[in-house]
Symmetry: D2
Subunit: 243 residues, 4 copies
C-alpha cells in the first residue's frame, strides 16, 4: 500500500526573488515532490502557505501519512489553529520531516519544547554529512558521508532535546559541526529533522539527499494499527483491570 506524502512549502522566496526561482523553478516543494515521486511506493502531493488553510485542511491532513515541512521567513504567518491541527495529527501517528530553516517553524518548536536556536553563516561553504548510525533505515543506500559543495552553515549549539537517534553529523569548512539528522518520537508520531536545503542552493536536486528523504518518509510512516487517540480532549480513563 503506498505511503501518502504531503510536501509543505512556505513558497515565498521563489515567488518574490528571481534568483531563488532560478534555482527552484517549480518551488522547493516541486523539486522535493519530483524527487520523491521516483519511488513507486510513495504518493506525493504538495501544499503551500498561501493556499486556504495553508493547504492543510482536516481532510488533507487525515489523508497524509507523512508531512514534509520547509519554511523560513514567514513562520509567524502560519495560523496557530493549523499548527494545533498538525500537532494533533503527529501525536496520533502522522510522520513529520522538518527541513533546514524549518528548525524555527512553530510546529517544530512546539513539538521540541525548546527554542531550536542555532548559529548560521551564509558563505558558500562545503558541508559533509557524516553517517554516525550505519544500519539505520534512513541511510539505506547512502555512503559514509554525503558531500555538498555549497551550503549555508548551521552550527552548534543547536537548542533541541537530545535526538533519540542521531543519524548524521555535519562538518563545515568554516569550523563548525552540527547534528544534522535527528530522529524523535512524540505520541504515536515519528519526526525527522534534516539540516540541508537552503533556498539558494540546488540541494533538493541531489540524488543522495532525495534518497535520504525517501528513506525518512518510509521510516516515519505510521504503523497500521491499532488506532489510538492521543490528544488534549482524551478523557482520562478508568480501567477496571482488577479481578
Amino acid at each position: 500500500m503506498p505511503i501518502n506524502v504531503t510536501v509543505w512549502n512556505e513558497f515565498r522566496h521563489e515567488k518574490e526573488e528571481q534568483k531563488y526561482a532560478d534555482v527552484y523553478p517549480d518551488g522547493i516543494h516541486g523539486a522535493i515532490a519530483s524527487g520523491l515521486k521516483r519511488s513507486d511506493d510513495l504518493t506525493v502531493t504538495t501544499a503551500t502557505l498561501d493556499e486556504p488553510e495553508h493547504g492543510l485542511t482536516e481532510r488533507v491532513l487525515n489523508a497524509t501519512d507523512v508531512l514534509l515541512w520547509w519554511g523560513h521567513k514567514a513562520h509567524q504567518e502560519v495560523d496557530d489553529a493549523i499548527i494545533d491541527r498538525v500537532h494533533h495529527r503527529v501525536l496520533n501517528g502522522m510522520g513529520l520531516i522538518v527541513l533546514h530553516s524549518g528548525h524555527f517553524s512553530k510546529i517544530f518548536r512546539k513539538l521540541m519544547g525548546t527554542t531550536c536556536d542555532l548559529k548560521w553563516r551564509e558563505a558558500d561553504e562545503r558541508e559533509r554529512l557524516w553517517v554516525v548510525t550505519p544500519g539505520h533505515p534512513i541511510v539505506d543506500g547512502i555512503d559514509e558521508y554525503i558531500e555538498l559543495e555549497q551550503e549555508e552553515m548551521y552550527g552548534e549549539h543547536f537548542d533541541i532535546p537530545p535526538p533519540e537517534t542521531l543519524v548524521f553529523v555535519s562538518w563545515f569548512s568554516g569550523g563548525e559541526v552540527f547534528r544534522s539528522g535527528c530522529c524523535y518520537s512524540r505520541g504515536a508520531g515519528k519526526i525527522f529533522y534534516f539540516r540541508p536545503g537552503h533556498e539558494s542552493y540546488p540541494t533538493f536536486f541531489d540524488r543522495q539527499i532525495i534518497q535520504v528523504l525517501s528513506n525518512a518518509v518510509r521510516w516515519a510512516a505510521p504503523i497500521s494499527g491499532p488506532n489510538r487517540q492521543f490528544g488534549n480532549k482524551q478523557p482520562l480513563e478508568r480501567l477496571a483491570l482488577r479481578d
Copy 2:
C-alpha cells in the same frame, strides 16, 4: 555553596477541604520544604498560586537554582506570562522537578511538546517504585525499590517523550506499570518528573521520597558556568571562525 530551592504548590486542596489539610497541615509545599531542609546544602523557600505573580517573580526565579512544581486542579489558572518566564529560566539552566499531577501542568507540557496524558485510578493501591538505573545520583541511598502502601494509580501509556534516563518504573497492585522517574535536559536546564504524591496520602513525609527529591535537586542544579543565554531573543550569531 548552598543550592537555592523554591517549592511551588498550587495549594488549593489543602485550603478547601479539611481531609487534605489533615494530611498536609502546612500544605504540600510545607511538607516538601520541611523534608528538604534536613539537608544542610539546600536553602529552601516556597511559593504558591494565589500569591502575586504566583510567587514566581523575576527576582525569585533568578535566585532559584531548582524549582519543584506541584499542581492539580488549577493548572489553567497559571498565567501564561509566568509560564514563559519559568520556561526561559529552565532553558537557561534552572532545574525543574515536576511532581505527580504536575504532569498536566502548562510548564511540563510546554517543555515536553506532548499531551502528557496517562491513565489513573483512585483505589488506595500499593505502589512499588523499582530502581532501573542503579548508580544514578538520584537513587543515592535508595534500596532496590520504594514501597508506598497507598497511592493513586498512574498507568501507561504515559504520553511523554522517551526519558533520556529512566530511573524508576512503578508497579501497581491493580495491574499497571508506569515510568515514574524520568530525566530530561532542555537547553541548559535539567528536568526530573517524579510520579508519587497524591494529595490524599502522606507520601511527602516518607523518608525515601524526600531522599529522592533531595538527590534530584542536587542532580538538577545548574552548573556554575560559563553563562550562556538561551532564548527567543538570542540574536543569530555570525561567527568569524575562518583563518
Copy 3:
C-alpha cells in the same frame, strides 16, 4: 524481496523432558518458525545446538538477515568461535532477536558488555506487557498491552545497558516490573530483546507474541546498502580528504 530468518534453539528441554515436549512437540524453534511462516515476506529456517557448528556455519549466517536466539541451560556449550562469528555478523548488519532466557547467552552478554543478570521466580504468574512506545514498528497491530495468563517472572534490576528504545514494560502479579522489549544497535546490526517465552508455557503459540516477533524481524532486517565492513580486522584507514 523476502527476509531470510534463522530461528536458533538450544533444543534440550524438549528432547530431555516429556513435559516440555508436550508443550512444544516440534521444539520451541518449530513453534516460532511455524508462526513466522504465516507472513509471506519471511523465509524461515531453523538451527539447533547439537547440529554441526550448532547449525550456524559461515554459509548459513551469511545468508541470514535476522537470527532469533532461544537458549537456557546449555549456554556454556556454545562454542566461542561460533559466538565470534555471530558477533561479527551482527556488527556487519545481521539482525538479532534474543528471547527470554537468552538474556544469559554468550552472544547477548558479549554484545551488551554487562552481566545481563535479573531476578526470577517460577510461580505461574500473570504477565502484562504494556506498550510504552506506540507508533514503533514492533508494536504494529498490538493493543495497549499483551496479557499472558501464566509465565515465569523476570524482575528488575535487569543488568543491561539502558535500551535505545524501550518498547514494552512487563507487570507481574507477584509485585515486579521488567523492561521486556528492548531495542539496541551495535555496528550496523539491530538487536531486540524480548522477555516472554519460558519452556513450560505455550507462549510462542500466542498470536500477539508471533505478531511482535514478525514485526521485530522486519525492524531488525539489514538495510540494503552500501556494504561496509565492521570488525577487528578492518585496517585503519588513512583518508586524504584535504584539498
Copy 4:
C-alpha cells in the same frame, strides 16, 4: 569526602622514545595526575602497565572511586584476569574514564560490545571540540568549544553503541567529525570516553582539558549507597514478595 582517583597509563612511549618523554617528562599519567591534584576534592594516585598486576591489585581497585585509562600500543599485554577485575569493579560502581587511544583497550571494548574502530590520521590538525549538551556537569566552566591547535585526527564512523549522553562533537580541519565526549552507564558504573590526548601533543597540560577530566571524575564517582553486587557470581534471587 575526597574522591579517590587512579590514573592508569601504559607508559611505554614515554620510556622508549625521547620525543614523547620531551612532551611528557613525568609520563602521561604524571601530567594528568598533576592536573587533577589541583582540585582539593580529588585524591590522586597512578598505576602503570609494567608494575605487578599492572598496578591494579584488588586492594588498589577496591580503594578506587574513578579510574582513568590511557593505552595505545600494548593493549594486548594487559592481562585478561586484570581486565575482568576492572570490569567487575565498574559494574559495581567504580567510574571509568577512557582516554584517546584507549578506545581500543580491552576494557573499553569489553564494556561496549563493539569493535570501537574509527578512522585516524596524524597530520598536526586543528581540533575543535564543540559542546552539544550545555548544562551537563562535565562541561562546567567550559566555553562553547575547546580548541586544540594540533592533535591526531579521529573520524567517524566510530563503532560504539550510541552514547547515552553525547557531550562533545569534534571538528577537524581535514574534513572529519567525531563524537568525542561520550557518557555510558554499565551496571552501577558510569563511563566517559574522551577523545583528545595523543602522545605527541601536550594536550594533558591544557587547562580546559584538565577541567573536563576533573568534572568527569566527579560525574563518574560512585553513589554512596546502598551497596549492591553486580556480577557473574550473583545468585539468582527468589523474592517472596506476594502477600
